[in-house]
């Protein structure tokens, strides 16, 4: 019964939710809404779960003085300070300590992490564009045409760039998307029919 009950729940909810896509009638849509509201309720409960996990893991690291424990202290400090400022001041007001920390500490840190992407793209491109063999050389030549076709100095290459992007690139992209679409449906069917059970920790 430990395995059968979850499988029956998955089958029933899977069939109802799939059906709700084809039945616009309000009675089925109400059932769908009911299931969706459960999803939201579980999501809210999960925030507490995450908070407990984060605190526990980092407290253990600090207590055991594992390598990098100082980062755990910073994490816990950040957690407490944001929780306290968030509870004491109204987070919807434009200027208070919570908003100050959010606007002038958190957002710049996010932006910094995102900016790293530019450097990583450069280092990844350097590796990818090495002309080691015929295929790699094709990638290199194509990349150069596409990059130059984007800027005024390579205006003459713009039509070739457009053709590369719209014909061979788009064909490959759509082939991948077609496989992903069918694979996704197959995966969903396998889960609903109980064929795929590994996510429950069972073969």
């Amino acid at each position: 019964m430990k395995w059968e009950i979850p499988l029956v729940i998955v089958f029933v909810t899977g069939v109802i939710l799939a059906l709700s896509d084809f039945v616009p009638h309000q009675s089925i849509q109400d059932v769908r809404e009911f299931f969706m509201s459960w999803l939201q309720i579980i999501g809210v409960l999960a925030v507490g779960l995450g908070l407990v996990s984060l605190t526990q893991v980092n407290l253990v690291k600090v207590r055991r003085k594992t390598p990098g424990w100082i980062y755990s202290v910073i994490t816990l400090f950040g957690l407490v300070i944001m929780l306290v400022t968030g509870f004491v001041w109204d987070y919807r007001e434009p200027s208070n300590p919570f908003q100050f920390l959010f606007q002038y500490a958190l957002l710049p840190i996010y932006a910094t992490m995102f900016s790293l992407l530019a450097f990583y793209i450069a280092s990844a491109a350097f590796r990818a564009f090495k002309a080691r063999n015929a295929l790699a050389t094709t990638i290199l030549v194509t990349a150069v045409i596409v990059m130059l076709g984007q800027v005024p100095v390579g205006a003459k290459l713009a039509p070739l760039k457009s053709w590369i992007m719209e014909v061979p690139n788009m064909a490959g992209f759509r082939a991948i998307l077609l496989g992903i679409g069918l694979g996704g449906v197959a995966m969903a069917l396998k889960i609903v029919f109980g064929i795929e059970r590994a996510y429950m920790g069972r073969d």
Binding site: Y110, G183, A186, M200, R202
Partner: protein, 379 residues
Amino acid sequence: MAPTSGADPPAPPTDVRAEDSDDDAGHSITVRWSRSPDDGGGARTVTTYTVLRAESAAGPWEEVGEVPAGTTDYVDRARVEGGQVAHEVTNGTPYYYAVRASGPDGGRQAVADAPAIASAQWYHKGKTPILTVLLVFSALVLYFVRKARKHPEGIYVRPIAGMDAVDEAVGRATEMGRPILYVLGLGTAATISTIASYAILARVAKKVAQYQSRLIIPNYDPIVMAVAQETVRQAYTDAGRPDLYDEKDIFFVTHAQFAYVAAVNGIMLREKTATNFYLGKFYAESLILAETGNIAGSIQIAGTDEASQLPFFVTACDYTLIGEELYAASAYLAREPLLLGALKAQDVLKGLAMAWLLVGALLTSFGVNLLRRWISVQM
């Protein structure tokens, strides 16, 4: 040509008719008409069409909408503004409609012959192609699953290099005495690629338990974390090593994309992970993760159904599962007839889709739009 000002208002529209809107839960009526002779022709004085509604043929009429000249339909549907019902279309109530063509000198209206009644439908006709494909696919899955049960040896699965390397990657981490990092991505527990990733995680965890290595799973979503804990716990139990399972190695980090990346990168560099798995839903963080792992010298196996992130993984990782390979990986690792049968059905449907595309493209090129019309979906 600009409309000319005349003494008379424009002629009314003709052939006004109202009917229940298709494929919805009711509360909606579609009004159609033919353009006034003065719209685009005649005196060219029509600037707008105003749609009016009444609960009896004698009125009183209320304005329910306005559309610019040239338009020939309007959908009158219930509206909610600021949490209050601003406009209602009640199912089962007969409504009479009129359309007025207006210009600088006033307007004239025409009334629909019959009232319309909004009602909810039990079937969305516009989605028939999707339902057909789904039913054909389901039938194929069931057929091949049955066939695979009888003759499991008859199903060939092409090698997936990334999955062949799982043993090697876990073994290498064990020999080096370093942990393995498994990243489930930014999807929720309801995301199909995350669920596919769980299936692979279960098998990777089993191998990790057998090799007595260590598995670290930092999570972006608390529910994903809870499911991952259960999946790994069961895998360790199946492998006969429940004692090795440590719940603290599967933990929640943050629900902020780049803070999560920073944390995972820190784990890679501090713990010196020998093998990194990135399997699930990934966005802009994919390259930051994979490049850091590459710089750290880890073996990296990635897979996602987010097509725009695939080039980054291909560039920075040793093995990449491209799109559908992520979904197929579980069947490939398990070699279970049921899963292999579903995989075969998927390939057959893909073959049918390719044939459809090829024939459809050829027919459309010669002006025959039959196949294209059959497959067109109205949401």
